[in-house]
């Protein structure tokens, strides 16, 4: 429904049918690289068709209205990087022609032309190739800071500092205000802003555990409070027939060939993907950068190994992909999901649709042996980086598109019903989107008091929609509501309702349970060139150990981590950290 949940950070929806890469196309790619490099810069201007603009371009540039219309209309070449099947178009709409493209044309005089539409792995590959071949569209999104770093260094994208300052509406600017001012600071290079980042409050998608509460009831189990209890529940879900169908057809923890999410590692105080301060005051990689962290990770690995042996994890998890994993969750095969706050909107909701008895509750990540609970968090929580290719004459078009998106979908004072409830799937039909980061706890608190008092007068139009969904679900106790069209009653209830995901995030904050990523500088040189190989190696080691290999394999990995580039990366990270601490 509304857009507080991240759909990108949830594991990428991989194409189950892998794409065939013929030898010929590989050759073509190499050739494309060759041409782009060999002939210097090839900026194909032909994609950016500019109908009869030459005479009036100065007049257009003078129009500084943040939502002003281009006269005559302009055509912007873009790529659609979230074009997946979850968007449910109505009335014959397509990615090329839908409420957003029509709004762009009518309100801004911008015609959007897509060079391609893709999502998931396919999108990552296409974006990489697009950068490599050098034929960039006018406006596009980068998937990673590494790509951003490369393009800034190569001078291929525009400085947007002034453009943003001049053209962003007050509302658009407000997204990057308060504590979120750090989002713009983090992407400035040499004091200049080359991108408008897309991000959200990390609380909105924070790690937590989802558990089948109807199964707990079936087995007369208490809601687990500690890590030990949680693992007992996972075993009970495997061996004690939680769905009471008389068959041994369930298991505890869903996991696919990409491993398991942060929520599991955090139980053991291991922190994937972030840099934490170690006892010596230096930053080290949260999983195996220091002895302490490596020990934590090893304990987690051993637990997974034990679970694998017992069958709490699917015996063939190494060969299944996330589509199959979702299928297990939806069809009620497993009951302890280590995930994130936004999960009700995905497989969990589908599970409740197929099984009327199914219900899930979110749990704060527990810890073992009575230690303090910790949850890893990356404050920046970026999803993408909107950029404009160098030389494009309307860089402000990007800002205008974002302004309009905010007007239609985010700003409570301008949002109308017409644009709120389209296609489902978090407005993926739009090529550029922004989330409003300040409202996560606001919405939660407003909804909470409205639910308690029944007084909806103070709710914004967006909040009211949540309220109605939650009410419709909780009053009727009727899950069939969720089945009607794009309605998300159950999911909204589990996200913002009493005892939902937002409530868990609130306890995290209240009790100060977060372990933050201490590094938020640009990706370092060694990181860009060495990390992919290290990640590969780690993935392999993890699989090996879970399926029964000796932990000595992990020890030797940790030992060689430094030589594989870990030392160089840690050096650069700490160099930044020292500088940054001094300047603060």
């Amino acid at each position: 429904m509304k857009n507080h949940k991240n759909d990108r950070s949830n594991k990428k929806i991989k194409n189950t049918l892998k794409q065939a890469i013929s030898c010929a196309s590989c050759m073509g790619i190499v050739l494309a690289l060759l041409i782009s490099g060999g002939c210097g810069t090839v900026q194909s201007g032909k994609e950016a068709v500019q109908p009869e603009l030459s005479g009036s371009s100065s007049a257009v540039a003078e129009n500084m209205d943040p939502l002003g219309r281009y006269e005559p209309e302009i055509t912007v070449s873009m790529v659609h990087q979230n074009g997946d099947q979850t968007v449910k178009f109505k009335n014959g709409d397509t990615f090329e022609n839908n409420v957003f493209t029509r709004a762009y044309k009518e309100m801004l005089g911008i015609n959007v032309k897509y060079l391609w539409v893709a999502s998931g792995d396919d999108e990552a590959q296409k974006t990489n190739l697009m950068i490599a071949s050098g034929s960039l569209p006018d406006i596009f999104m980068l998937d990673s800071l590494s790509q951003y770093e490369q393009l800034v260094k190569a001078d291929k994208i525009q400085d947007l500092t002034d453009t943003f300052e001049k053209y962003a509406t007050a509302y658009t600017k407000s997204i990057y205000s308060g504590e979120f001012a750090r989002e713009l600071e983090a992407v400035k290079r040499g004091g200049k802003l080359y991108t408008i980042p897309w991000f959200n409050d990390y609380n909105a998608i924070i790690s937590m555990i989802w558990i089948r509460s109807d199964w707990l009831n079936n087995l007369n189990l208490q809601i687990p409070k500690t890590g030990e209890e949680l693992f007992k529940v996972a075993e009970a879900f495997t061996f004690n027939d939680p769905d009471k169908n008389g068959k041994n057809d369930t298991y505890g923890i869903p996991m696919d060939n990409s491993g398991i999410e942060s929520a599991f590692w955090n139980v053991f105080h291991s922190y994937p993907g972030i840099w934490t301060k170690d006892s010596a005051g230096k930053l080290s990689y949260g999983m195996y950068g220091s002895k302490e962290q490596a020990d934590a990770t090893k304990a987690a690995l051993l637990k997974l190994q034990e679970f694998y042996k017992k069958g709490v994890i699917r015996k063939d998890f190494t060969t299944i992909e996330d589509a199959q994993l979702s299928e297990d969750i939806i069809s009620g095969k497993c009951g302890v999901l280590f995930g994130t706050a936004s999960r009700p909107y995905f497989q969990l909701q589908d599970n409740t649709k197929t099984d009327a008895k199914a219900d899930w509750i979110p749990l704060a990540i527990p810890s073992l042996n009575g230690t303090k609970q910790t949850i890893s968090a990356s404050p920046l929580n970026q999803y993408g980086f909107y950029v404009v290719r160098k030389g494009y004459e309307h860089p402000e078009a990007l800002v205008k598109l974002l302004n309009l998106y905010n007007k239609l979908e985010n700003d409570p004072s301008t949002v109308t019903q017409e644009y709120l409830d389209v296609y489902g799937s978090f407005f993926k039909a739009a090529p550029v989107r922004l989330y409003e980061p300040h409202t996560f706890f606001n919405d939660y608190n407003s909804l909470k008091s409205a639910i308690e008092s029944g007084d909806t007068a103070k709710l914004t139009i967006i909040q009211k929609q949540y309220y109605e969904n939650i009410k419709a679900f909780s009053d009727a106790g009727d899950k069939t509501f969720t089945n009607r069209g794009n309605k998300t009653g159950w999911a909204d209830f589990k996200y913002y309702g009493p005892g939902g995901a937002a409530a868990v995030a609130e306890t995290y904050n209240k009790n100060g349970l977060y372990v933050y990523d201490e590094y938020f500088g640009p990706p370092t040189k060694s990181f860009i060139s060495k990390q992919p190989l290290i990640d590969k190696k780690w993935n392999q080691i993890m699989m090996d150990i879970i399926t029964g290999a000796d932990t000595a394999e992990f020890d030797s990995f940790v030992e060689s981590y430094g030589a594989m580039g870990g030392d160089a990366i840690a050096g650069e990270v700490n160099e930044w950290f020292e500088l940054n601490q001094k300047s603060n």
Binding site: L34, K153, S258
Partner: protein
């Protein structure tokens, strides 16, 4: 003289031209890209501006150690595939040759030949279903008391799955050459052997096999050149992170590194290494083919 000859052959040269252009554009042109192997290549900057690192990428690869594993996997899988495929093709050819019913022989040959035309993207989907943990194969094994095998996730089993499925797909195609070779053997030899009282097996052993020996050697030596191509399509369709250790071959590794992770320099370095080794192997194989079977291209 030369001019006259050239003029006479001009139409032929013109007909050849498109092929030559294609080879230059697609096979020789990309060779300039090898320069990436010696750079810290930033695609946005291109070849001219990217940082030059000399042999840095190669020494980094040696340090990480992946390359040893990947190279070993490639050779191991490839050699097993070549051996198994050759053996299967010879046996099948001999069996087919003994069939007397012509129509039946044709049908059998077509049936075992057919998988050759199926893409691995389709076959991959089929085998993933068949070989799944709860798939048909494990079901059958279960009935005879064998505990289920994770065919596509077990490092001990995976290389053999690759070899078996490869043979199933390719053996039919290999038969053609051997059948042709067998049909080239002088029938009088068989007649003479029958006169001398040789049975079927003795005929195969003393006439058919020696008759196609040179072809067998030729085919084996020629395949030496492709030993570092362990079959990208097949491995890509069947493997997963769990079997990178045993199933990752040079081509899949380069694909993941280069196209998915955008590590162009590292990927190019490995591919270049592969090219150099392949070049040596191809040279050796042609030399040997020439020596053993008087086979030459030039």
């Amino acid at each position: 003289m030369f001019a006259e000859k050239f003029k006479r052959q001009l139409p032929l040269h013109i007909m050849l031209l498109p092929a030559v252009i294609l080879v230059i554009v697609y096979n020789y042109g990309p060779m300039f890209g090898l320069v990436m192997a010696f750079q810290n290549f930033n695609p946005a900057e291109g070849f001219l501006k990217s940082e030059w690192v000399g042999l840095g990428n190669f020494s980094y690869l040696m340090k990480v150690g992946d390359i040893h594993q990947v190279l070993w996997n490639t050779v191991y899988i490839s050699v097993m595939k070549i051996a198994a495929e050759t053996l299967a093709a010879i046996v099948l050819a001999l069996l087919l040759n003994e069939l007397r019913h012509r129509a039946y022989k044709r049908v059998v040959q077509t049936v075992i030949y057919f998988p050759h035309f199926l893409s691995w993207i389709i076959l991959g989907g089929i085998f993933r279903e068949l070989l799944a943990y709860d798939g048909i194969v494990n079901n059958v094994l279960g009935h005879v008391g064998v505990s289920p095998v994770i065919f596509l996730g077990d490092n001990k089993v995976f290389p053999f799955v690759l070899v078996a499925t490869h043979v199933w797909q390719q053996a039919g195609f290999g038969i053609i050459v051997y059948l042709a070779a067998i049909s080239g053997i002088n029938p009088q030899l068989y007649e003479a052997a029958v006169m001398d009282g040789a049975g079927r097996l003795a005929q195969i052993r003393h006439i058919t096999l020696p008759g196609i020996k040179s072809i067998i050697i030729l085919m084996a030596t020629l395949s030496l050149g492709s030993i570092l191509d362990a079959g990208f399509g097949q491995v890509y369709a069947l493997y997963g992170p769990a079997v990178y250790k045993s199933g990752d071959v040079i081509d899949t590794w380069v694909y993941r590194m280069g196209l998915l992770d955008a590590q162009y320099s590292i990927a190019t370095a490995v591919d270049m290494f592969k090219s150099v080794v392949s070049f040596v192997l191809v040279s050796i194989s042609y030399f040997m083919a020439y020596k053993f079977s008087d086979y030459h291209i030039f």
